[in-house]
């Protein structure tokens, strides 16, 4: 028996494995499939579960995501591990044309309780074909739910909520967070609700909206700013689609200033959408223009120093906030 509210210290990656273990124990229709899944943390699951529920797939991204869709249509709740987010492009037909559309196109006859896990491998010296953060593409796809956890507890709670959700969910995990440890709830029924942002720090002068792996930088920036007498509120959006605009708008109503930190490419980014929503809905509350801190519209280079220069840092967030004074 576990005590109510008890926690255990887990890394972000361990939390994901735990979530899968608990959901596979809870529901025998949950299966896990992907390429060399043991390499990506699932080794310990092989000790516990029947191999028929753990599928190492051939290298066929479009089809194995589609196999997940077909299985989801017919009684299973598959978790498909698409390992590296740049491979989403290969599977985009099955994700966008099938998973996202089948419920709609059949007038609600079908549901697609599919979870696709995938990781953004930026800041890892893997060069342009492995370092994408393609979540804006899927934010632009009606019919999908898109998640981007920034903490171990959220990685666990959101993945579990996704497995129990009857719609197709794509989770972007951030490898820059994989080793970050946290006290994570032990209770197998603690879920993090899809569609709710988290206020990570309260403040009055500026709202910093953080997406996925930007969170540690946003928190450090808020510390820095506090030292300069600026009180920053930090919101971790957690769910990219549907976006919790209510939490963002009420924060901006209080602070009047907004900086959005997003490691996707600048044009058509999640930051762009949030900026547009705030300009449409809360323009009167804004004391200064909205600012986006994003990766520039350029491919990710192999060279490590050049690569690091592209992404969100504490200093870039602080500089953006300072421009608002």
């Amino acid at each position: 028996m576990t005590l109510a509210n008890s926690t255990t210290r887990l890394s972000y990656l361990q939390a994901i494995v735990e979530a899968q273990r608990e959901e596979m124990r809870r529901d025998e229709n949950v299966i896990l499939m992907g390429e060399d899944i043991a390499v990506y943390g699932a080794q310990s699951l092989f000790d516990e579960f029947d191999a028929s529920r753990l599928r190492n797939t051939p290298i066929s991204e479009n089809s194995f995501v589609g196999v997940g869709v077909g299985a989801a249509l017919t009684g299973l709740r598959p978790i498909v591990d698409l390992t590296i987010a740049s491979f989403c492009y290969l599977a985009s037909d099955q994700l966008i044309n099938q998973a996202a559309k089948l419920r709609f196109m059949t007038g609600g006859q079908l549901s697609v309780p599919l979870v696709v896990r995938t990781s953004t491998f930026y800041n890892n010296r893997t060069a342009a074909q492995h370092a994408d953060r393609p979540y804006p593409l899927f934010m632009n796809t009606p019919g999908l739910k898109v998640l981007a956890p920034a903490t171990a507890s959220d990685a666990k709670g959101l993945l579990k909520a996704a497995v129990r959700d009857d719609d197709p969910v794509v989770i972007f995990e951030d490898i820059n967070l994989w080793n970050k440890k946290e006290d994570v709830p032990v209770d197998a029924d603690v879920l993090v609700p899809i569609g709710k942002a988290a206020v990570r720090r309260e403040g009055n002068d500026v709202t910093i909206v953080s997406i996925a792996g930007c969170l540690p930088h946003a928190m450090k920036a808020a510390d820095d700013l506090a030292g300069r007498g600026i009180s920053a509120e930090v919101i971790d959006i957690r769910t990219i689609a549907p976006l919790d605009s209510t939490t963002i708008l009420s924060s901006v109503a209080k602070t009047g200033r907004l900086v959005i930190a997003d490691n996707s490419h600048r044009v058509g980014s999640v930051a762009s959408e949030i900026a547009a929503v705030v300009c449409e809905e809360a323009f009167d509350a804004l004391k200064r223009p909205v600012r986006r801190v994003t990766a520039p519209q350029v491919h990710v280079p192999y060279n490590g120093a050049l690569e690091k220069g592209l992404f969100v840092t504490r200093d870039k967030i602080v500089a953006a906030v300072e421009k608002l004074n």
């Binding site: 066929s60 099955q94 099938q98 419920r103 059949t106 007038g107 079908l110 739910k145 929503v277």
Partner: protein, 327 residues
């Protein structure tokens, strides 16, 4: 496993339903990709399945649900775009899906159905049922990557899937000979280590026999089979497409229409078996069914704008903002 007398009449009924359903569409509202000429292949395959077996179809989507025994009215209403349509008017001609009959999708993305049918087979295997999954596709679709990817996975995992090619010889205007390095589609099975079988698609009983064998093989856990039914499309690729080039000869079309019509061929066989009276009764009944479906479709209401959002998510969260795009 030959068809008994009742099944023979049922096969004829379903073939005729497809034929008259599509002739009604031509008469009332020229729309979509017709299966006229493919009835023997479609019905022969579907008659080898149980109601709880899965089927994925193609953009040429009308025959598949009818072949599986779906109710006609909602299919017709769907093509008229009506709220009473099987997909509430949101899917239409290339996407006639009836989940009650095991149809899990018709894909207008050529090759999109391979993974879905394979996934349905995986699901049956993991859940430990003896359901089979049958994937319809055209000769053109076999050049998509999903063909090889999916069949390979099904072969490795011995999934209960039947891959069923309606080879009508053309993809829009491109003949098989100009798009396939090796034009014998059944032979591609060798590359995956599974059986590949060619059958005359105009002979409904021959198609039924090979498909029934493949389905039994699937249920026994012996894995997938690739079936190539040689058939022919009598009409154009799509009624909406004006094709400026002569990519097939009139002589060829006439030959199939006059000598190789699967409905006429089967009717003649059943008459030889002394079933004329039953056939005539079925003909009257099917005509009535189709007329009633057209009336139902015409008189049905249009969908509402709000239906769009009602069918987006099983668990909708925070959709209010998404609706604002309308204003």
């Amino acid at each position: 496993m030959a068809l008994d007398r009742e099944q023979q009449l049922e096969a004829f009924r379903r073939m005729l339903r497809i034929r008259l359903f599509e002739e009604a569409l031509i008469a009332h509202n020229p729309v979509g990709h017709l299966s006229i000429g493919h009835e023997g292949a479609i019905v022969g395959a579907c008659m080898a399945l149980r109601d709880d077996d899965y089927v994925t179809g193609t953009h040429r989507s009308h025959g598949h649900p009818i072949g599986k025994g779906a109710e006609i009215g909602p299919l017709m209403a769907e093509i008229f775009g009506k709220r009473t349509g099987i997909c509430k008017g949101l899917g239409g001609s290339m996407h006639l899906t009836d989940t009650k009959m095991g149809l899990i999708c018709e894909s207008a993305i050529v090759g999109g159905g391979f993974p879905l049918a394979t996934g349905a087979g995986l699901s049956a295997q993991v859940r430990g049922t003896d359901q089979a999954s049958l994937c319809f596709f055209g000769d053109g679709a076999t050049n998509q990557g999903t063909f090889g990817e999916s069949i390979n996975m099904a072969a490795v995992w011995k999934l209960p899937v039947v891959y069923f090619c309606e080879n009508n010889g053309y993809a829009v205007t491109t003949p098989v000979s100009m798009s396939h390095g090796q034009p014998d589609i059944a032979r591609r099975a060798d590359g995956f280590g599974i059986p590949g079988i060619t059958v005359d698609g105009q002979d409904v009983e021959a198609v039924h026999a090979v498909t029934a064998d493949a389905v039994m093989r699937a249920r026994r856990g012996e894995g997938p089979t690739l079936i190539e039914a040689r058939t022919y499309r009598f009409d154009e690729h799509s009624n909406r497409l004006a094709i400026p080039i002569e990519y097939r000869s009139q002589e060829e079309i006439d030959h199939y229409r006059n000598e190789r019509d699967p409905v006429a061929l089967y009717r003649a066989i059943l008459i030889q078996r002394d079933l004329l009276a039953d056939i005539e009764a079925i003909e009257a009944e099917v005509r009535e069914t189709i007329d009633a479906a057209v009336t139902f479709a015409k008189e049905s209401p249009e969908p509402e704008t709000s239906d769009l959002w009602d069918n987006m998510y099983a668990n909708p969260i925070g959709l209010d903002r998404a609706m604002e795009g309308q204003s």
